[in-house]
Subunit: 223 residues, 2 copies
């Protein structure tokens, strides 16, 4: 579904150059569940943002069903993200002036076949807090609103940047089960960045990043 | 060192009342390392913010070395936080317009016996990134700047809200070792909110919160 070829991402130049990604090639197959692991600063968020059309690589290309995203302009990338991608950000990126329900509805209103905002928020255990604003919610509750917002869209591609970082293990498992059922029932191509090894067990493949490169890929024999 | 008596925290009123804390009593002994565990939304951040003088309870008091913080005005709370407390926030709360080094220096400049900003950033593995701004740093790198900022102060009390949430396990262990050595060498009274069971093993006591109440306290026999 999504193919990355020869990706690099370089910030700055000269003495203060930071190579966030170097020569990354990756295929995400339709309906697959992939987990990205790697140390803090190894390039995970940078890779996920480029795959999701939120950032452009310095070199290389990203192909979505054969169409070259890197050759698209901003309007083309916006259409790609809006029509095909659900994204759970590492910092949640909720809109502070909208309630939990409104944050989800903002995304579902423009989707062709979404879940109800109420349904998506109930899946992540927030049915009692729908009309609260982000500032009135705990860290983990805000994270769950961000997850509800991404899955409510029923996207073709679901990219999650550390979706359980702020959650206790029990709540984290509820969220991972929600992501797994979206992947299974809708064949949503899913990539999850995590530090949580329980999540890695769910994946069809685990891709390890180190210093901006793919250092290892494990295939999960039991899936 | 820090004593909480009969704490409650209620948000809103009537139908939309949320009881974040109910009847919490807790002693933090001088030099102790305590871990706070509990589900998302159970009241951990609310309790830590009240203990650190960042928020006021609806009922109850917090005593620091016998002095009642809840009877202090804003200026009194600001002096308490500035003179005695290092705080690692769940959302890092770094100043975007300052580099990593400047974010740490802002706190150390007014402390009586601080570490050098460079030294504190080296302890958390960020010596190469001191002159970068938060927007140029990954999630886990920003979190580590927030930790360096708190420990550089060499505070009497160190309160950490999920200090390893955005870190891989290897980097997380480096940070936990830094917190443990501050606690051991400076006898800093330390409370850490975490979802990470490795951290719980470091504690003198583990305090479990559920629905705004303390549900259990374990004492670590091996410490
Ligand atoms: N301003 C507010 N208005 C209403 N409810 C609030 C407000 N701030 C916090 N709460 C609620 O109080 C409860 C406790 O919040 P708190 O942030 O302490 O939880 P937490 O244990 O830190 O959770 P997490 O692990 O998700 O960070 C939550 O249900 C939260 O939604
Ligand atoms: N705007 C920028 N300017 C300079 N360097 C940057 C910028 N954005 C990211 N970086 C660097 O690129 C590297 C990769 O960042 P990235 O956010 O992808 O890491 P990550 O694997 O997601 O880390 P974490 O697990 O801490 O979130 C990091 O060293 C980071 O500091
Ligand atoms: Mg990241
Ligand atoms: Mg919290």
């Amino acid at each position: 579904a999504l193919r990355a070829v020869g990706l690099s991402k370089i910030y700055g130049s000269g003495e203060v150059e930071v190579r966030a990604l170097s020569d990354v090639a990756l295929d995400l197959y339709a309906g697959e569940m992939v987990v990205l692991l790697g140390a803090s600063g190894s390039g995970k968020s940078t890779l996920l943002n480029i795959l999701g059309g939120l950032d452009t690589p310095t070199t290389g290309s990203v192909l979505f069903e054969g169409q070259d995203l890197t050759a698209s302009d901003d309007a083309g990338l916006t259409r790609f993200r809006r029509d095909y991608v659900g994204f759970v950000f590492q910092f949640y990126n909720l809109i502070a002036s909208l309630t939990a329900r409104e944050n989800v509805a903002l995304v579902t209103e423009i989707a062709p076949d979404p879940m109800d905002p109420e349904e998506a928020l109930a899946v992540v255990g927030l049915e009692e807090r729908m009309d609260h604003f982000p500032a009135q919610l705990s860290g983990g509750e805000q994270q769950r609103v961000a997850i509800a917002r991404a899955i409510a869209k029923r996207p073709k591609i679901l990219l999650c940047d550390e979706p359980t970082g702020a959650l206790d293990s029990k709540t984290g498992i509820i969220v991972l089960e929600a992501l797994e059922s979206v992947n299974r029932e809708l064949q949503t191509t899913t990539a999850i960045i995590t530090h949580n090894s329980v999540t890695a067990a769910m994946a069809d493949r685990v891709i390890y990043l180190a210093d901006g490169r793919i250092s290892r890929i494990d295939r999960n024999a039991s899936r």
